[in-house]
Symmetry: C2
């Protein structure tokens, strides 16, 4: 679509603004249909973003999006309309705010709950530097369950600054919002409305609302008023929007249209999680499942439908979910906590101190591990092997395909200690083989003294391709499925001590499998040559996972060269 300038937006008539909203909505729908991305949340916030751009003065004023997946209209209105067709593509626009992309993006987000803290930080910096601009945090009600939001609210009075918090209340995160705060917000929207504004007032915020966030006639005066109120102190403006607004099938299916992906090529590990957990839970009443607002994405819907009393969606509360699992385990249950790799970072502390220090039998099902792709820096799952590698008592498993994932889940049911299983979104079902804790699997055994030790489906595929290419040059290579990071298969590794061991992992090269294997040989005083391939020491941008892997550390040609080098210097 044609770029709309700040000037055009600020002088447009009400009728023209409505037209602009229609054009934006169409552009978002068209682009997401092609590129994938967050659909219903962006359709829901078109008017709100247009109104913000009309009333405020960006980039001088600062707009901070919580999570940031709802920033498409903002991108279209801030000089990026001509590049919007590159959304989420390698080298193109990010689906999230990025300071590196535009001065209109003042703060990068991706994980929930940071926007109020960030707005307070900007406002405080402004005050201390004697500058003069407005700071606005746009936060969904789903994020309002997150503890970080509460920590920030608690700080409003401490920091004594002025921010505008817009509570974008659509009753949803990725999943429908849940919990006490949600019920309070629901009652505030009810008939008759509950006049319970005290909670926010107590925290030092002037409460205003409720405003229909899909109606510019309500929004524009409300924002003008809030802007005026900002001169006196902090304001919370409660806005309701409809996720998917304008597209009836999005409005009626906000979960399914929260994030939209181009057509899938493979099976999903998440479906296997749901199936296996349901099967296990039938005969094991102690099995419970926990998610932080991701029931469907993690494949848990069948479990929630079949065992509603043993299934818990606690909202976007990754830390609470961990402690809940740890304590349910201490109380005699067998909890499964399913979570995306990148969001597991939020609960690193509780994995250490609540789950592992107490050696409790909680199973972490870590989805979207490795390079997750189009969502970019904040969503890559490339640190989990590193940050799980040094936690005592923890076993870490990496299935080679969906069938092996199923086998690991079945094995987990009788496992009496903390267990993490990490896997990518998609893969092949494959054939099942027996799995034993701490035992690798030799996939290709040769007389060769070159071994490719690969973790997980994607790296094993690379290993197979390298092996074929090497074979065509007359070089034999063994392949081992390194399916446990902790414990390593020390017996098998010891048998390869005379070899060149080449490790492949779709994780940072720092602190993962390669380091563990090399450490094992060092600890035995062995001079085994270990060559590690993994992701390089930088944040990985958005793009297609396999192409990112190829370019950022898991390069087919380089791995093949390492094989050739090992062959040559025998």
């Amino acid at each position: 679509m044609k770029q709309i300038t700040d000037g055009e937006l600020k002088t447009a008539s009400p009728e023209q603004l409505k037209e602009i909203c229609g054009a934006l909505r169409e552009e978002i729908f068209r682009t997401v249909s092609v590129c994938g991305g967050h659909l219903s949340s962006n359709l829901g916030t078109v008017e709100l973003t247009v109104a913000l751009h009309r009333v405020f003065d960006f980039p001088k004023d600062k707009l901070i999006f919580d999570v940031g997946h709802q920033c498409y209209t903002h991108k279209l209105l801030s000089g990026r309309a001509d590049r919007f067709h590159t959304l989420r593509k390698r080298g193109g626009l990010s689906g999230f705010p990025k300071r590196s992309e535009s001065e209109y993006d003042c703060y990068d987000t991706g994980h929930a709950g940071t926007a109020i803290s960030a707005s307070l930080g900007f406002a405080k910096a402004r005050d201390l530097k004697g500058e003069n601009y407005n700071v606005i945090a746009l936060v969904g009600d789903g994020s309002f369950n997150n503890g970080l939001i509460y920590e920030a609210l608690n700080s409003v009075k401490i920091l004594r600054s002025r921010v505008l918090i817009i509570l974008n209340d659509n009753g949803m995160s990725i999943s429908p919002t849940v919990g006490g705060m949600h019920e309070l917000l629901a009652e505030m929207k009810g008939e008759p409305p509950l006049e319970d504004v005290k909670l926010f007032e107590r925290f030092g915020l002037k409460y205003r609302g409720i405003v229909n966030g899909n109606d510019l006639n309500e929004l524009l005066p409300a924002l003008e008023e809030a802007k005026e109120g900002l001169k006196e102190g902090s304001v919370l403006l409660h806005v309701t929007t409809k996720k998917g607004q304008g597209y009836s099938f999005c409005e009626s299916a906000p979960v399914a249209t929260h994030g939209v992906s181009p057509a899938k090529k493979h099976s999903e590990y998440s479906a296997a999680l749901g199936e296996e957990l349901c099967a296990l839970a039938k005969s094991r009443p102690e099995i419970v499942a926990v998610t932080a607002a991701m029931t469907d994405n993690l494949g848990l819907r069948p479990f929630f439908d079949t065992f509603p009393e043993r299934a818990f969606d606690v909202g976007i509360c990754e830390e609470h979910a961990s402690v809940l699992c740890a304590s349910m385990a201490a109380g005699g249950m067998k909890p499964y906590y399913a979570v995306f790799s990148t969001f597991l970072e939020r609960t690193f502390d509780e994995i250490i101190h609540d789950i592992c220090a107490q050696n409790l039998p909680v199973t972490l099902c870590i989805d979207r591990a490795g390079v997750s792709g189009a969502d970019g820096e904040t969503h890559q799952g490339v640190f989990d092997l590193s940050f799980l590698s040094f936690i005592p008592n923890l076993t870490v498993a990496i299935p080679k395909n969906i069938a092996e994932f199923r086998a690991m889940l079945r094995l987990s049911a009788d496992f009496k200690a903390p267990l993490a299983i990490r896997y990518p979104r998609e893969g092949e079902e494959g054939e099942e083989t027996a799995v034993e804790i701490g035992k690798f699997e030799v996939l290709h055994s040769t007389m060769s003294d070159i071994v490719l030790l690969a973790a997980g489906e994607r790296c094993l595929t690379i290993a197979e391709n390298v092996r074929k290419a090497a074979l065509s040059e007359g070089i034999e290579v063994a392949i081992v499925n390194a399916r446990f990071l902790r414990p390593l298969d020390e017996k098998l590794l010891a048998g390869y001590s005379h070899c060149t061991v080449i490790t492949l992992e779709d994780n940072s090269l720092i602190g993962g499998l390669g380091d563990a294997v090399a450490r094992f040989y060092r600890s035995r005083g062995l001079q085994t040559r270990v060559i590690g391939f993994g992701l390089c020491d930088r944040f990985l941008p958005h793009g297609e996972p396999l192409s990112l892997m190829e370019d950022f550390g898991l390069n087919f040609g380089e791995i093949l060269d390492a094989v050739r080098g090992a062959h040559a210097c025998r």
Copy 2:
């Protein structure tokens, strides 16, 4: 003191109960005077714990302490009086609840904010298993600032279970409690009291209080009533206690007597932090300091006194503190976030995504790094090098003494990217030398091909001792101060590629300096022999730091043997 049995406590007269409280208080005071530990918080909760043991039926009922430092009376009342003199000593009683120690300790804690989540988990397990017991969470008002508490409160309605939450309101965490929640609680205690119980009622809790938690005459009937209320649903009982109750100098100095240590032997790094930050901030108006309820322990008091408008104690909100720092940096400030190593684990996610992914110039001042000793498993700072090692854009510095710490702080002032400096509590002032990012310092250069590469003061001391012992056997050893984990001094390391390099670090052996050095040589295709010493793969109990280091991976004899071995096999 003599062990008081459950039976004695349950049948004691009011007069006898008062005597028991007096005896407990005396025992706690006497023991902490010798062993160190948490004083004023335990003195404040004597009556409350006695009343809980009188009214409830432990260990069948479950009592979960938030943080857990206030559990001394509970330990004295649950069969551990005879061992109480071993408090915090190696092999003796832990200062925190430990399931491994007694069935009366049902859930281990140490970091703030977990108790409500844990109580909900136990209650849910009980319901699902058809068991019948009460679950009580005892939470201080300081913890009530923490986001995890809020996440748990939000879940009360989701989990539909029954727990008793006792809000132990003494107006303090380690530091005085701050923020919106604190002000709300203060008004509830005011004259006339604010009847604002709705907040808690909204979250599905029946609010009861306010009860004087140092008066058994008020406490006992209130707990009986709460126990009765538990049959219907969850209850929040608001109790006020006086930190240090019974000892006037504790009552009047609750910060100083929160934790008590046996006499110090050395200078503290924290004092240098306060001094240097104050000196730097005089000429640099962009410097700000942030702490999560630890102003004094981290040495920031002088900064808070001198630059109150640039100093922020945000309460026990480690995550919010990180985002606040990141956003203040994005807004043009130069933030210093001081925090204990173990509590930094709470904000792993925000270090990655808010500070480092945006490459913002935040300096993390990480105190109590390495083996921190008497507080045990939950307070050791032995993972920080591991979890900081793989975060792109981050520089990680490890000073050899306090003078070098000062130099690093001065260097940080002009550093334009994220920087972490990790240091132990105590050390020698030492002499200053020039510090350059990514440059190691050769402390003893020899013609030897054995190099001790040590990180931080304690490991350098071990290295010096090993060197002396080796010299007495005619073996020369070089010593290098490995003062940066990221970036490594690659030029210097390359020069040692023909040597045996022995690394020493007071961090988990997994993922720290040793792995980084070995990875460097591997990445260059060098077969340099790297022998790593660090802490072994288990949770370290409480005890004296140097003796723990000696026994759990940094053993003088073993390191000397490694030197001998390297010498012999040249």
